[in-house]
Structures are given as structure tokens and as C-alpha cells.
Symmetry: C2
Subunit: 198 residues, 2 copies
């Protein structure tokens, strides 16, 4: 028996992350009952977005142009390059900090077991860019996980080869956190990296 | 400044129920990074579904045909009619019980303050159907809320006018529940409606 259109809609909503059968059902009914206009807009935007959005030729971020707005901007500092794992990380840094340099989005992290090596992360393009000599500092903002750290070490080596200064985000106790509940690794790191008060 | 296509996509994902800025962002990145095929299918299905899915002329449920599959089915008992507030309620009853009769979906509940009266719930069509004389029992399965109860009373009157026997879902202690944690209203109702053990 073929699925009804409603069942097809529920099924196709399940590609969204964190959406199971029940939520998909609720979404489908919500769109049909109360948000037909918004739903139509979503269908159109999604179709166009998936067709048109590709990767920036410079930083590998998502963009509908060949070069993304940040890379094309004349007002960004072209001597600093911040390497992050994902577009979401880039956005978080952009929103939280006053960073005015450029980005490089790895779209992943080194993970040899999953077949993700330097080539999959576009590190040859990154190396070519470092070789141009315009960049003086590479801020390595990969996640503080085992694979993220390994990627950070690899990137730092790459930077040094091209006489670019590598730097890494500070690790430590989060603001507003309580020492009692901070995990041991972080606390030990924060203790070791203590700075003098002036 | 006009929004980029990615920002438009994030914005339009927010029509989904329970989806805020952060979740919409995560969904957009997920679709772009890992689910382009599924996303395309979603865009197409959603567009077609919103265009084609309307209400069944008999039960007011969502369907792409004029009469939904349940109403058109020859194997359903045409003497019983179950009135529910929403398609989701209909689905819950269909999945949980062995009910083989027909349904009527109110698509809401009586709520004079919000301008929802008998006409908005299609009760004239329901009355016409009851008048046909085929239906002998109307199972009223509106929610046990103030408005749902008011709707149930109205429906029961309507049924009696047409010599149709109205019935209501039993209220009581949920299976697996603990008396200690059941709310007072439910417990009092369950106590009053106790049945003899045989």
C-alpha cells in the first residue's frame, strides 16, 4: 500500500535532526492547521537554499556566492585567520567576540579511522593560503576534544612551517561556573595556566 | 540589508512548532552538511502536501481526496461515530484501540471568547449526518478540559435530539499511575465512578 501524502510529509520531516515520529506528526499537523503560508515559504526557501548554497572558495563556509561576505569584505583584518571545525562554531565566535579577521572552516576534524585526513579538511588550500604570506596569526579554535586537539596540533605545525604564529583558545573555568562542579581536567588545566593578578 | 539565503532558511524553519533560533540554525546546518537529499525531498513533499491536502467532506480530517480513506472504507462500522477535537486525537484513538467505526474531527472545541461556535466546528454538517439515521452511537472523545467538557455536553444534546446515544470516554486513574500522585479531580471522579468487581 502506498503512503498517503500526509504520511509522506511526516516521513520526510524526520530528516530534521532530533525529530522523531511524534514530533514529525505534530509538525505536519501544525503546518496544515495553522501555518500553511509559513510552510509554503519554508518549502520554497529550502528548495532554493539546497540548490544554491555551496561552499566559499576561500573559507569553505556555506554561501550562495563564490566568495562569502566575510571573505569578500574590505573591512576585515586579512592578517588573522581563525580555523574552526564547523559553520556553527564560526557563527558562535562571530556573535560572541569582536574578532574582525578571517575564518577557515574545516568542515570536520582529523579522524583517520573515519577516513578524514588533511585532504578532506581542505588543508592543502589552507597551506597554499598560508604560503602567500599575508596571514601572520592563525587562531586555532577547534573543539577541546581528543580529535579537535589532534587537529589543532596538526594545524599549529602547518602554521609554523609557513612562519605563521599559531594560537589556541584559552581553556579554564567557565565564567559563572562553580569550581565544585568543574570537571577535573578543566580544573587542572585552569590551575596550571593561572595568571598573575595585577 | 537583505538576508542571505542561509539566514532566510533559518528564519523560515522557525515556523515549525517548538523550533527557536538555535534549533533552526542546527537544522539548517544539518540539512546543508549531511541531508541534502532528504532536505530536497522534504521541500518537495511539503510543497505538494500543503497544496493538495484539504479536509474530508465527511469527517473533516486531513486528506488529499474528497473523502478520506476511513470514511470511504467499506469495512468500517457505519453505526458508530467518534467525535474528536483534532486529527492527532483521531490518530491516537486509531492506534490505541480496536475501534472500527467512523470519526468526526471538530478541528477545535467550542470557545465563544475566541469566536469558535458550533458553525466553526462544522456541527451543522454533523447534525445533518445524525439526522440521516444511520448512526446509532456517538462516542464523544473531546479532551477532559473545561472547553472540551462544554463541547461534549453540547454534542451530547445534539445527539439526543437526533435519537443517537451519546457516550463519553471513561475518566479515572491512568494505568500504571500511583494514587499518591494522581490529581484530586481525577481521583474524586475515579472514586465516584467505581465499578463492582466480579
Amino acid at each position: 500500500m502506498s503512503l498517503s501524502l500526509l504520511e509522506q510529509l511526516i516521513e520526510s520531516l524526520r530528516v530534521l535532526p532530533g525529530v522523531g515520529q511524534k514530533t514529525a506528526q505534530r509538525m505536519a499537523y501544525h503546518l496544515l492547521e495553522r501555518e500553511r503560508e509559513g510552510g509554503k515559504r519554508l518549502a520554497e526557501t529550502l528548495g532554493v537554499a539546497l540548490e544554491k548554497i555551496g561552499h566559499c572558495a576561500m573559507c569553505r563556509d556555506f554561501t550562495e556566492s563564490e566568495i562569502c561576505a566575510t571573505c569578500a569584505s574590505a573591512s576585515r583584518d586579512r592578517h588573522q585567520l581563525c580555523a574552526v571545525e564547523s559553520p556553527a562554531d564560526r557563527l558562535a565566535i562571530e556573535q560572541a567576540t569582536g574578532y574582525r579577521g578571517l575564518y577557515f572552516i574545516l568542515q570536520g576534524r582529523l579522524s583517520p579511522l573515519d577516513g578524514i585526513g588533511p585532504r578532506e579538511l581542505g588543508l592543502d588550500a589552507l597551506a597554499a593560503r598560508l604560503a602567500e604570506g599575508e596571514i601572520t596569526e592563525m587562531i586555532i579554535a577547534t573543539n577541546p576534544t581528543v580529535e579537535g586537539e589532534a587537529t589543532a596540533h596538526y594545524l599549529a605545525q602547518l602554521a609554523r612551517q609557513h612562519r605563521v604564529r599559531p594560537s589556541r583558545l584559552a581553556h579554564g573555568v567557565p565564567l559563572g561556573g562553580e569550581l565544585e562542579y568543574v570537571d577535573r581536567g578543566t580544573l587542572s588545566h585552569a590551575f596550571g595556566s593561572r595568571s598573575e593578578m595585577t
